[in-house]
Amino acid sequence: MSDDRIRHLLGIADLNLATAERILDHAQAFLGVSRRPVRKVPTLRGKTIINVFFEASTRTRTSFELAGKRLSADVVNIGGSSSSTSKGETLRDTVNTLDAMHADVIVIRHAASGAPHYVARYARAGVVNAGDGMHEHPTQALLDAFTIRQHKGNDFRGMKVAICGDITHSRVARSNALLLRMLGADVALAGPRTLLPTAVESLGCRVYDRIEPALDGADVVMMLRIQRERLGAPLLPTLREYSRVFGLNSARLRLAQPGALVMHPGPMNRGVEIAEDVADGQQSVILNQVEAGVAVRMAVLYLAASEPGAPTDG
């Protein structure tokens, strides 16, 4: 039996297929915990998880917090503006401080790509990347894959997934493309040419500068949020134009397979990248993604906080 402990989860790029599938399998068991009347198991009793969010986030931070609490760990949240970083402390000193407090796992979100890797180099604690700059958001990709498994089964081979929107700035797109390709899916990326990264072909996906060919025959459609801070020349002239050319409406959705899943990592801009009736429609699994998020993060924290030790016995 191989050791399935993951000391850090920094990115999908560092994950192998067996570990990714192990996380998804475990998440299935943890989903059951969230659906019981008593939504707590004593697994990580006495462990400390510190969420350090240098970048604002409600959804992801709450999801990690609930995941830790449902495992009985002690969870502490540190926000960017309230942290010592705003007083001039370096990231390295913050890490040393958290280590001295005997944190078992540090969950970090940072605007700088690679910040979690830097932290992992110095921390004694396990490090989980909750989103770093334009780089990766591995737990989002895992929860998306888990949601797809729930609806379409465990075999991703031959499955067509379209990811549409601002591909350049999206860590969600990047982590998803890496994970879905690893699981064997056929991934199409679509976005305005100004929002497709250079060397995008290296992700091993089909790439389009229109949404229609990506939607054609898709089993899953993932819409990305248009980040308003990217607006304006030269990248994206107006929201209305973006919505008209790249928004997912019910007419466009008919290009995909009947029963194709509609996904969105949230928060949604209704009427911009996704039409109201599609977001609330039969094919939308957007709220299932939120539920899956807690289960997947419980699985990740369980694997990151467990210590290697004697094999279990009766």
């Binding site: 475990h26 068991a29 019981r36 707590k40």
Partner: protein
């Protein structure tokens, strides 16, 4: 074993059988089958995975195979029969009792096992068992289920320990 259960709880109809994953499942299913034949009574059957409740959960290697726990009804006020294949240290049963409590407050919890191999590390005993025999710590008991029933075989590592034997619940 089913006969004894019926004898002790004649007429009671609040039984819920909960198997400890994964070893308890075949035995629990057999028990349900016997109760159906003997008593024309089929109690609800559930299962719990105790991985999350183990006392070494955060220090042991992560369990590579965690199954879903599935308890079909609230356990409030019910008579729960916990079923496992082998009773050894008692730690798994302790964890299973903890798990049960998260599904309600049973009126009574009893334990049925195929083999009690002794070697307890906690004050826990089986209410029903088919065979009780001290078996060396380093030996392993394998439980098989096939068309002829359930068989437990001792896989002995040390020559000095008792010879391999088997029990069959019929």
């Amino acid at each position: 074993m089913a006969g004894e259960l019926v004898e002790r709880h004649a007429g009671a109809r609040d039984l819920v059988i909960v198997a400890v994953r994964r070893g308890g499942i075949v035995i629990a299913s057999e028990l349900v089958r016997w109760l159906r034949e003997l008593e024309q009574y089929e109690p609800p059957l559930g299962s719990v995975d105790v991985t999350f409740y183990r006392d070494d959960a955060s220090t042991a290697k992560p369990n590579p195979r965690i199954g879903p726990s599935d308890v079909p009804c609230s356990l409030d006020g019910r008579h729960v029969l916990l079923v496992d294949d082998v009773l050894h240290t008692g730690r798994t049963v302790r964890a299973a009792i903890d798990a049960l409590m998260d599904y309600g407050r049973p009126r009574l919890v009893e334990l049925a096992v195929l083999v009690d191999r002794k070697g307890r590390q906690l004050p826990i005993q089986a209410d029903y068992f088919l065979k009780a025999e001290a078996i060396a710590d380093e030996d392993r008991i394998d439980v098989f289920a096939d068309a002829t029933g359930i068989t437990a075989v001792v896989q002995s590592k040390s020559a000095a320990s008792i010879p391999p034997g088997s029990v069959t619940p019929h």
